[in-house]
Symmetry: D2
Subunit: 341 residues, 4 copies
C-alpha cells in the first residue's frame, strides 16, 4: 500500500482527496495536517465521515510531517504556501502532488506578477510537470513534483487542446466564459458567499484579469505551437460545485470544417483518456452529468463560422482532488481510473 | 413629514427598514448610522439602491445622532447594544422603535439569563410596549418605547393567540417546529451560512433553548391567562428569507371543536388586523405567499385530537422591518398599512 | 383612471403585470383572461394576492373581451397566439401592448422562419413600434400597437446600443453569453425545470439558434447603421429570475478607447433613461441589484482590445411586465416611472 | 455473480439502484424495464452514465421480463403497479424486492384505504417481510418477497424504535415533523416542483393524512408492543434530496431519564447496524452528513420532559435504493455493506 500524507486536510479540496483515498484500493493515509487552531476529529468537522474516518487532524510542523513514514504527499494548500513545503518532501525522496499554482507556470515572472509574491524555489520550476494527464501522461509517469492544474484551466484547456493541436495556426481569437460553483473559492466564510447573497444571484469577476488566465494561455500556446491569449471571464453562480465553460473560437480564415469533423478530432485526441467524454453532434453537456465524478464532458457546436465548445467538470474532482488522484495513479503505476469510478 | 433615524442601517433589517421608508408617503430619512469601519454610500453596499438612495452611512456616535433633528429612531441593533442607545433618544423626547430583544421581556431575570447580559436600564422595561399590533394596538398608539417582536415570536404568537384567548385553559401542550431562511441570522459571514454548506441542507439548533422561547412563552401565557411553556425548535433551511412555523396543540380534555369553528375564531380575532390572513379549511399557506410582504398567513388543520397550525411570515418584514414600520404607523397616527402594501 | 385588460393573467408575466397595475396610481384592471380549464380566483392561484386581488379569472372568448369597457390591453400570450387577438382590440380603437414576439420583427420572413409559423396579420407589422423606451420613446408615445421586447433582447440591446451608436462601423464581432433564471421559460411543468434537475446545474441551449437572436440583430443593426450578426448563446441557471448577459465586442481596427470614455458614452446615451444605471469603472453589476425592479444595470470593462459589457435585468420586469408598464406609461402620457419605483 | 433485473429503471429510485449495482462486486444487471414511450439509452436519459452504462432500456412486458435469466428483481414501480408484477417473478422462483408500498402493510384494509385501491394479491401479504434491516435482519435473510420501507417510515421508525423497545409503554404521544427534498415525489414534471415554485419556499402537506403514516404506526406499535398513533406531518423543502425528521415524544409519567442514558439505549440497540450512527449528547445531525450515503444519522435532545429526536437520511438511498441493496445483500448472503460504502 502506498503511504500518503494530505496537507490542508480540512479544506474543500483536502477532504475530497481524503474521501477518494479512503475508497482507493492501493493507498493508506499515513498522515494529515491542516491550518487549524486546535486538533479536531475529521468526522466532527465533516460529519459524513463519522464512523468511516474518525482520525484527528492537527496543525503539524514540517518537521513533524517529515517524520511520518510516507511515499507521497498531497499539498492542498494556498498559493505561496505550497512552495515552502514541497522542497522538504522532495529532498526526503517523496513524491509531491501540489494542488496550488506554485509550480504550474514555466515563466517565473508571470507567476510573480499573477500571484503578487516572490517565488522562493525557482530551481524546482523546471522539474515540475503540469499534471493534465490527457496531455502529459508520459511526463507524469516520471516526475516527482507534479503541479496539479487549476479548476478553470482544466475545463478550459481540455475544451481546446484538440482544436489547438489540429488547427491552432488558424485560430485568431478565443473567449472563455466560465461559470463556477462556490466551492471553487475555498472553504472560508465571506459575505459574498453567504447563502442569502449568492442564492438567486450571479456575477462576473476579475474580467480578463484572473490569476488562472496565464496558466490557460501557457498550455493553449504550447498546444497551438503559437502564442494564444484567450480572454477568460469567470462568473460565480448559485451552485455548490461544478464548472461550465462556454468557449468561443474564431478563425483567421474561412472556417469550413463541419461540426462532425471537429467532433471526430476530439474523439481521436482523447481516445486514451478515460475521463474525457465527447458528446455527439446536437447534444451538449450539463453540469449535472459530471457532478461528483472525475469526468470532463465536452460538447461542440458551430454557430456561423464560430466554434462553440461547452466543457463541464466538477471543480473539486476533475478540477482538483480527482485529478490529483488520477495523477497519483499515473505517477505510481496504478490503473489510471483506480478509486475514481 | 416624520423625520426618522435608522441605526444599524447596513444590516439585513436596517436596509429593509430604509427600503420601506423610501416608499412611505409620510416619512423622511433624517439620519443613519452603522457599525462600519469607514463611511460608505448605501448604494455601493446595496447596489439595488443605486440612483434611489445614494446617501452615505457612517459609524456615528450617540452624541452625533442626538444632534440630528428627528422625531423617531429605529434601532436595528444587536441585543445588548440597543439598551445603550434607547435612553438617550427617549430623554430627548424622541420615539424609539427597538428591534432588538432588549425591552421585550417583562421579567428582567429571564432577559439576563436568556441573553447572558446584565440589563443596564431596568427602569425602561416597564414603559416599553411589546409591538405586536394584532394584540396591543391601543398601547402601541401611546408608547414612546416600542419593543419590536422577534421573527420567530411573531410567527408563533400570531399562530396561537386566538386559540389561547378562546380555549387557553384547556390547552395542555404546545410544540412549535419552526423553519427559517438564513437572513434570520443576520448579515455576517460564517461558514455555516456559506452557500455550499447550507444548500441542499437543513438542521435543527438550540432545541428547547432558543433565546426567543421566553418571549413566546410570555405572550402565550398572557393570552391564555395561565402559564404556557411551549417547546420551540428552530431549523435553518436553504432559503434566503421566510419562516414557516408548524404548531402542534394538545388539549387536556376531549377536543371536539371542528376545524371550521376554530377557523371562525381566528377570523373573528383578526378581523381588524390588515396583515393577518386566515386560510380556508383544507388549504394551508406556503412561504411564497408572504415573501416580500408584511403578511402573516395562517392555516389550520385538525389531526386526530390535535390542532395543527401553519404560520408563515417574511422574517425580515412581518418578522422585523415591516412590523417596525407598521408600529411606527400606529404610534404616529398614520394609516396602519401606509408604505406596506 | 385608465381601464386595462390583461390576457394571459395566470402566466408568470401576466400575474407580474397585474401586481404592477395594482400599485399603479392611474390604472384600473377592467378585465382578465387566461387559458385555463375552469374559472379560478387569482388569489387561489397566487396566494400572495389573497385579500389584495381576489378577482376570478376565466378563459374568455375574444368576443367577451371586446365587450369589456377598456382603453388598453396587455397580451401576455404565447408567440403565434397574440397575433390572433391584437387586431380585434385595435379595430375597436384600443391600445395594444403585445408581450409576444408577433409584432417585433420588421421582416416577416425572419419571423416565420424563427417561429415556424405563418403570420396572419402582416398589415400590422409596419404599424407596430418596438417597445424599447430607451431607443424609441417618441414613437412609443404615438403608437397604438406596441411590440414589447423579449427579455434576452432587452438585456442585450441595452448593453450594446450606445456602442453601436458611437462606433458601430468599427465593430467586427459581438458575442452575447446570457445566463437566465428559469421563469424565462414560462409557468409550465417540464422535467428540465424540476427543482431537482436544475438545482446545482446549468446548461447552454439553442446555441446560435435562439428565436430571440433575429430580434437582437435587427435592433443592433439599426443602431449601428450596418448589418450586425451577434452570436447569442443562452444558458439556463439555477435561479428563479434574472438575466446576466456577458457581452464581448471586438473591433476591426485598433481599439484605443479608454474604458472611462466608453462609460461616458453610455451615461450620455442613457441620460434620460430612468431605468438604466451605468456602473463606474472597476465595478460590475450583479443580478441581485436588479431583482424585483425595472432597472437594467450595465457595467463595462476592457480586456486587452476587447470590450466586455455586463448587463443585468429582472427577466419578468424590465424583461417583460415592467417594461410593458413603462411603455403603457409613455403611450398614455403618465410619468414614465409611475408604478415602477 | 447475482443476476438482477430493475423494473422502473428511469425513475429517481430506479436509476439510483442501477448506479449502486454498477459498483457492487457481486452483482450483474441482467435486464431493465421502464414505462417509457420508446427505447432509450440509459446514458442519454442520465448523461452521468455516459461511457459507464450505455445500455438501452425499454418498456418490457412481464412475459419478456420473465424470459430473462435472473435471480432477483427490484420493483421500483408506483404503488398499485408492483402488486401486478411481483407474483410472476415469485412463481418463477426469483427473489423480489419491492420498493412500492404494496406489500408493506399487514392489514389489507389499511392498505386499501390508504392507497384507494383494491389489493389483488392478498395471499402474498403474509409472506412479505418488512425490509428494515435494523429490525428484521433474520427474517430478511429468509424471505423471497421483501417490502422495502418508504423513505419517511425509514427515517421515522429508526428514530423511535429503541425508545419504543425500551419504554414504549410509557410513551403517550409522538409527533413526527418531517422535511423532505423534492426527489421524494418522484421524477415527474409538476408545477409545484418547478424550480421557481419551490426555490425559497416550503410547505406542509397531507397533515395527519399521509399514506406513509399507517406504515409508521404499524412498526412503532410492534416495537412498543402497544398501539401507537403518531402524528406525521411532512413538509416539502427546497432541497434535491434528503429527509430530516424532528420527532417529539411525550410520556405518560414523569420522564426522569437522562439524555445520556437514552443515547446509550440507542447505541446498544443499533450496535450491529452498520448504517445507523448515533450522535453524542449536545450534537445533532444535518442532512449534509448523510447525503449520497446509506446512513441514518440520529441525534437526541431533552427539552423539559420531552424527548426530541433528529433523524436524517438520504431519501433515495437509505430511504429507497440504498436500503433495497442492503436488503439484497442480506437476502443473498453478501456482506451487508457491499457496494454501499
Amino acid at each position: 500500500m502506498l503511504k500518503v500524507i494530505v496537507c490542508g486536510a480540512t479544506g474543500y479540496t483536502g477532504v475530497e482527496i481524503i474521501k477518494l483515498l479512503l475508497k482507493h484500493p492501493e493507498v493508506k493515509i499515513a498522515g494529515m495536517s491542516a491550518k487549524i487552531d486546535k486538533p479536531v476529529k475529521m468526522s466532527d468537522e465533516f460529519p459524513e465521515l463519522k464512523g468511516i474516518f474518525d482520525e484527528v487532524v492537527e496543525d503539524k510542523s514540517i518537521q513533524d510531517l517529515l517524520k511520518i513514514d510516507a511515499d507521497l504527499v498531497f499539498l492542498a494548500l494556498p498559493h505561496t504556501v505550497s512552495m515552502e513545503f514541497a522542497p522538504h518532501f522532495l529532498k526526503k525522496g517523496m513524491k509531491v502532488i501540489d494542488l496550488s499554482a506554485d509550480f504550474r507556470l514555466d515563466d517565473l515572472s508571470v507567476y510573480e506578477k499573477s500571484y503578487k509574491h516572490k517565488h522562493s524555489f525557482k530551481e524546482y520550476i523546471g522539474t515540475a510537470v503540469y499534471g493534465l494527464p490527457e496531455l502529459y501522461k508520459d511526463k507524469i509517469k516520471k516526475t516527482k513534483l507534479l503541479a496539479n492544474p487549476g479548476c478553470f484551466p482544466t475545463a478550459s484547456i481540455l475544451s481546446l487542446a484538440p482544436l489547438m493541436d489540429k488547427i491552432g495556426q488558424a485560430i485568431s481569437d478565443v473567449i472563455i466564459d466560465a461559470k463556477t460553483g462556490v466551492t471553487g473559492a475555498g472553504r472560508k466564510a465571506a459575505l459574498a458567499f453567504h447563502f442569502s447573497e449568492l442564492s438567486d444571484n450571479m456575477w462576473a469577476y476579475k474580467v480578463g484579469a484572473h490569476q488562472h488566465a496565464p496558466e490557460i494561455n501557457q498550455e493553449l500556446s504550447k498546444a497551438a505551437k503559437k502564442n494564444i491569449t484567450a480572454l477568460f471571464v469567470p462568473h460565480l453562480s448559485p451552485m455548490k460545485r461544478g464548472i461550465l465553460a462556454t468557449v468561443y473560437v474564431s478563425m483567421n480564415k474561412k472556417n469550413d470544417f463541419a461540426c462532425a469533423d471537429i467532433i471526430k478530432w476530439y474523439k481521436a485526441f482523447y481516445k486514451n483518456a478515460p475521463f474525457v467524454r465527447i458528446y455527439e453532434e446536437g447534444t451538449l453537456p450539463k453540469i449535472s452529468g459530471v457532478l461528483n465524478s472525475n469526468f470532463c464532458d465536452i460538447g461542440i457546436a458551430k454557430a456561423g463560422e464560430k466554434i462553440v465548445i461547452i466543457s463541464c467538470i466538477d471543480n473539486l474532482l476533475k478540477g482538483a482532488a480527482g485529478q490529483a488522484v488520477q495523477n497519483m495513479n499515473i505517477m505510481c503505476g496504478f490503473k489510471e481510473e483506480a478509486g475514481l469510478l
